[in-house]
Symmetry: C2
Subunit: 309 residues, 2 copies
């Protein structure tokens, strides 16, 4: 029966989150997976891999040739990389998804659309508390691109073209060590270093506070968000995340891996501390009420993150 | 002395507003005027006309070859035309101005940037009262494009790349009869018809209420906005406009042109009435405090509008 439903398109499917999401969806849905690289769908008979550049009109036509039941749009040029190549970032983060969504909506079936937005929409400095009513005020190009797409998707949803929801992702750990173009890469790198018993110096202080989520918890949130019946009127949702003190995170990773927390040094870079290490208390009543959950505890977060290494 | 300052770039300079703006600036500034068509700068020795498509990288490079003291970005694909050609509209209304602004900002002189936004950011239905705190909720693609660019320009301004201000234009009268791609064209067409003594049927009721501004008043606001010292923190400004009942407008145009208001019939189209004929009381404290003014009275608005016919 599931096979009769139109497929779900996952963009950025070769990325850290995309790979896990495709594997979570595959048993229950037909999936079209696209990315520019790293597409590995071996053994997943319900998944069609269509590699290519998301700003290539020919690829977009292929991806949207048949009606889609949902689109989960993860493809993006992240914060650091967007600052390095503004033109590429504007094309991939704004123009390409606008074209993709229009092409998918043209079938007239109002597909579900989950858009991976980011807490970068809030910019810096953050207010003393962030909740569902906090206004956007991006400072990074990346954050502004996300805020722009949130507005676009809310408009298309009011018009009935899609059933859109923008999900603001916090820091996801632990990503691979490969260069990701992310200014927040240190959050994942500390897991790799401690597990390997190697020293690492972090560009934030031990007192820095960050909103974190494991890939496993995020994947669960994305799958649950596919079927939400009561999206907020704003069509935007701050995702539940654990607020973690970096010193505590280091201690827990050390404990679970049997290494010494003393492997980690701290050489705070004021810009990085301001951008990623001053995250205040976060309440996510709207997402909580819809049944979305973070990892639950620091121990569980670290356990889930280490399982991905 | 004025000739020593970097020039002001005006995009959409061949349009109804752009033509008047260039003539208002020319005595006091060097001006670079660009548009895809209708560029007429005859007799204006301080104006350089550089015709072309605003999404052409070669034109953008030409326009931004030297530092600019200001950019007044009027070029746009308006509401009706944007619905007809979404891909063109996304390119001209979002991608092109993003690239143009980046190119201009690259000189590092933080140019003044006035962006012609629109009351279309508020969508429909409008709340019972619109003021400086009213949240955006566009329904037209055009309105969403403007809201997206407002966000982008506010971000670039926080970063120091430009000194940006988005000005939300109300209905501007009386535009030429030529097809403008505007769903609100009837607001201008009624001036032409009554002046010519020809019958016209309006797609709204006599009770419809609209926010209107003459080109003369708008040009004054744009010139004043170039030198504002206290932009609002949001970097957005609702422009002062006269709220006019259409029946009263028709009567005043008839009075000033010596024709009969009975030339005008009313066949309200619910969609047009909802989009353009239900504009509630508008307060613009922020713009008022900055010294921006609308036409002042219905008689003055009509007088100014008729002067442009």
């Amino acid at each position: 029966m599931a096979a009769e439903r139109p497929p779900i398109l996952v963009t950025g499917a070769g990325g850290f989150v995309g790979q896990a999401l495709v594997r979570a969806l595959a048993p229950h849905h037909r999936v079209i997976a696209t990315d520019r690289t790293n597409l590995d769908c071996a053994g997943l008979s319900s998944v069609s891999a269509l590699p290519g550049e998301i700003d290539d009109p020919a690829l977009v036509a292929q991806l949207t040739a048949e009606p889609l039941s949902a689109i989960i749009h993860l493809a993006t040029i992240p914060g650091g990389a967007a600052e390095t190549d503004p033109a590429l970032a504007a094309r991939i983060n704004v123009a390409a998804p606008m074209a993709l969504i229009d092409a998918a909506a043209a079938h007239g079936n109002a597909p579900r659309l989950l858009f991976a937005s980011s807490i970068a929409v809030f910019g810096e400095p953050l207010p003393a508390h962030v909740d569902d009513d906090t206004l956007v005020r991006p400072m990074l190009r990346y954050g502004a691109h996300k805020a722009m797409m949130e507005e676009w998707i809310a408009t298309l949803t009011r018009r009935g073209g899609v059933r859109g929801l923008s999900l603001r992702l916090p820091g996801i750990v632990a990503r691979p060590m490969a260069p990701s173009g992310m200014k927040s890469a240190f959050l994942s790198n500390l897991f790799h270093a401690i597990k390997a018993g190697e020293p690492i110096t972090l560009p934030v202080s031990a007192q820095a506070t960050c909103w974190l989520l494991s890939r496993r918890a995020l994947t669960g949130q994305l799958v649950a968000a596919l079927d939400l019946k009561n999206d907020p009127a704003s069509r935007r949702l701050n995702l539940p995340a654990l607020r973690v003190r970096i010193g505590d995170l280091v201690a827990e990773v050390a404990r679970q891996t049997g290494h010494e927390a003393a492997l980690v040094g701290y050489a705070p870079d004021p810009a990085i501390e301001a951008a990623f290490g001053c995250q205040p208390p976060l309440t996510t009543f709207a997402a909580d009420a819809l049944g979305l959950h973070h990892d639950g505890s620091l121990a569980a977060l670290v356990d889930h993150a280490l399982a991905d290494l």
